[in-house]
């Protein structure tokens, strides 16, 4: 929009910091290009439109100094920059909410989003750790999902019964699916919170097309009907947020390659033992 006119960089008296930056740019692959610039605006520049209108309304005796209809001051929106997600939010809190609900505890291998670090850990263990599978044949490996309970079980089913009986969980608790159930569930969007995002924002292909690493039967997420079945309230709210905004972002063509996860703990994959198993 603005066309700055570059003025020459001063060559004397440079600060050390500018020296360092310049030597970096000489490396050739430094993408940063900011230089301070005086911006000259010509008479007909669009930035001058409002002021010119006020001026001419004054000349034509149409001017009211404090007009009733105040022009709205607009606020920048926020957008989720995660490749494939086109959520747009009007407040930072909404963005944070969305991010925390849908992107924070994401499994690297299958892209499923879990509501907490602990559930993510358990998921990775139970779904992607081959050692777990082996050990589970002989030991009680399935942990109770309720934090602090500490009990372990030989099978998923035992755990489920325990959850229902002791902790009064619903029989179809979203975050306790077995691997085998995935293939059969056509309508369940339980763990596929990421699918919720895709559905509501219309960029399904990007994220859903990444095939998961599971060995059984080439099951991939896009075979599931993406449905708006929210689980916890958080997820529901986030999904509705993203659903209500029309996707106006360009379709991202950059998928996160399967071989890389975000570092820093937001998305995790199998990391080997973390010392929790008995």
């Amino acid at each position: 929009m603005l066309q700055p006119e570059a003025l020459q960089l001063r060559t004397e008296g440079r600060d050390e910091q500018q020296e360092r930056r310049l030597s970096e740019s000489e490396e050739g692959n430094n993408p940063f290009s900011f230089t301070p610039q005086i911006i000259r605006l010509h008479k007909d520049h669009e930035l001058f439109e409002d002021g010119d209108i006020h001026r001419h309304m004054y000349l034509q005796d149409l001017y009211i100094s404090e007009a009733e209809d105040k022009p709205a001051l607009s606020v920048s929106e926020f957008a989720c920059h995660i490749s494939g997600c086109s959520g747009v939010f009007s407040a930072l809190e909404e963005y944070e909410h969305h991010y925390n609900a849908l992107h924070r505890h994401v499994c690297c291998s299958c892209r499923r989003s879990l509501p907490s670090a602990r559930l993510l850990d358990i998921h990775i263990q139970e779904w992607h750790d081959s050692l777990f599978t082996i050990l589970a044949q002989k030991q009680d490996m399935y942990q109770c999902l309720v934090e602090g309970c500490g009990q372990t079980f030989r099978t998923n089913k035992h755990r489920k019964d325990h959850l229902i009986r002791i902790h009064k969980y619903p029989p179809d608790f979203r975050f306790d699916k077995t691997k085998k159930e995935r293939g059969k569930e056509q309508k369940d969007a339980a763990m596929e919170v990421v699918d919720d995002v895709c559905e509501s924002e219309g960029v399904c292909e990007v994220m859903c097309n990444s095939p998961s690493d599971e060995p059984e039967g080439g099951e991939s997420m896009e075979t599931h009907e993406c449905e708006e079945k929210a689980t916890t309230e958080d997820v529901l709210a986030a999904a509705q947020d993203t659903e209500s905004t029309a996707p106006r972002k360009p379709q991202y063509s950059y998928r996160i390659p399967n071989t890389v996860c975000f570092g820093h703990g937001s998305v995790r994959g199998f990391r080997g033992r973390r010392g929790r198993r008995k």
């Binding site: 970096e24 430094n30 301070p36 005086i38 001058f48 010119d52 001026r55 001051l73 920059h81 963005y95």
Partner: protein, 481 residues
């Protein structure tokens, strides 16, 4: 009705045809006049003796009507008759005759004004006359005629309108109404399409610029209206010329900025006179644009008022919600002020103006992008400024702007982040501590190359070394070990 006018004007501006005329109303406007046939009026004028004045008065009222205007100019000899009365020995007739011409000049039909050309040499001559009302009418008539055709302007220039306006303002500088009218007329000339080639060079060589500047004084008895006209003239002069060295030499920058400081003070005190923004607007533009003609080393000599940065920030706050476009132009001026001046960057810090600017980062449509430019200007100058910016909370503000939908905001945020990060390990560590790395990681996969390149570069070259635990994981193929 206002909304319709507003959008009509906007479209006209986009078509480069934004033109306004001013009508000076008579004191006894309320008196009704029976519609009279123009032709018969003209006939009466031609043949009557003692009632010419009355007929002229009637004619001037009839000529308010656009249809009558067209009839008038089509009528043979009508203008000749009018000019005769304009230059005759009867003073009252002269006044009424010029009023008729004034009504004609206000016509929205572009072929009416050119029909008044025979009168212009006399109108120009009368500019140096003693009667204020008469001079005003002459001036507004001339001013209204200017936008309508190249031919009209060419003739006026040849007839010496520029020197006439110059001596008018000079000789009658204490008559506010005349100064206002003369500056209005000049502004009409300066907005013409061919002004940069044909008009502005002549104006710059005349005494007009210095007279215009002398009107821009904060002296309250001088009145807002003449200052408004003069300021808009200066704006048209400055923005149409690439090199404003002469205007700089005449003190344009210091005069405009001093007045801005006074106005900023008045506005902050709640002293918002009606229409004060009509003066602030062109002054901002004058200062903003003329800064590009001012070499860095002369900046301090030219800008004697050290209060300018603070006044500009005050203006932004004062108009942010009521006139966001004005606030936007104000931050544009701040950018130009800080672009190449370490002193003004330093002033923003020492005068504690930066927190207020950071708080403006949510506001879009050109405001926050310009604010980031200003902050980048500061960061660019010195390492110690970067540390100070960090202490004022810029890093956490950037953690928010990096999440914005506006690509330009994200890219500029990355640019500032880069400058701040390389300035000092303290800044880099703080950014990592504020969990900024995850923001950058997300951007590495963004659709826009500019974002990917910048975030990757920052992470790889500068920030990852500050991380305690490197957790980039490469997924192995499924294996049993």
């Amino acid at each position: 009705k206002l909304a319709v006018e507003n959008s009509t004007l906007r479209q006209a501006r986009r078509d480069r045809q934004l033109v306004s005329k001013r009508l000076l109303l008579n004191e006894d406007e309320e008196h009704l006049i029976f519609p009279q046939d123009i032709v018969s009026l003209l006939h009466k004028l031609q043949h009557s003796g003692t009632e010419k004045e009355a007929h002229l008065k009637a004619l001037s009222k009839v000529l308010r009507d656009p249809a009558a205007q067209l009839t008038f100019i089509k009528h043979e000899n009508s203008m000749h008759l009018l000019v005769g009365l304009l230059t005759g020995s009867n003073a009252q007739c002269r006044l009424q005759a010029v009023r008729c011409l004034h009504e004609l000049s206000h016509s929205s039909h572009t072929n009416v004004a050119p029909a008044c050309l025979p009168a212009t040499p006399y109108l120009l001559t009368y500019l140096s006359g003693p009667s204020t009302k008469f001079t005003e009418l002459c001036l507004y008539t001339l001013g209204n005629m200017c936008p309508d055709s190249d031919v009209v302007r060419e003739k006026l220039l040849a007839q010496g309108i520029i020197p006439a306006l110059a001596s008018c303002i000079e000789n009658q500088r204490h008559t506010l109404a005349v100064v206002e009218a003369a500056a209005f007329t000049l502004s009409q000339l300066l907005q013409a399409r061919d002004a940069p080639e044909k008009i502005i060079p002549i104006v710059l060589k005349s005494t007009l610029p210095s007279h215009l500047l002398s009107v821009l004084t904060p002296d309250p008895q001088f009145g807002l209206a003449p200052a408004i006209e003069c300021a808009w003239c200066l704006h048209y002069l400055i923005c149409s010329t690439d090199d404003n060295k002469e205007l700089l030499a005449q003190g344009a920058l210091s005069q405009c900025s001093s007045l801005l400081v006074s106005l900023g003070g008045a506005v902050t005190e709640g002293n918002k006179e009606d229409g004060i923004e009509l003066l602030i607007w062109p002054l901002l533009r004058c200062v903003g644009n003329i800064l590009s003609s001012c070499p860095e080393e002369d900046l301090n000599a030219q800008l004697t008022d050290a209060h300018l940065p603070a006044s500009l920030c005050a203006l932004v706050q004062a108009y942010l919600h009521t006139l966001p476009a004005l606030a936007r132009e104000t931050v544009w001026v701040l950018n130009n002020l800080t672009a190449h001046s370490t002193e003004f960057c330093s002033a923003l810090l020492t005068l504690n103006l930066v927190p207020g600017l950071i708080q403006l980062l949510p506001f879009s449509q050109g405001i926050n992008t310009m604010i980031l430019r200003i902050l980048a200007n500061i960061a660019h100058k010195k390492k110690v400024f970067c540390v100070q910016l960090m202490q004022l909370g810029l890093l956490s503000a950037l953690c928010a702007t990096l999440k914005m939908a506006d690509q330009e905001m994200v890219i500029q945020s990355l640019d500032i982040l880069f400058m701040m990060t390389v300035s000092s390990p303290v800044v880099a560590e703080e950014f990592v501590r504020q969990d900024g790395l995850s923001l950058l990681e997300v951007l590495q996969y963004n659709g826009a190359a500019e974002m990917r390149q910048r975030s990757t570069y920052l992470l790889e070259k500068h920030l990852l070394s500050y991380q305690q635990h490197i957790t980039v994981i490469v997924m192995q193929p499924y294996c049993l070990c």
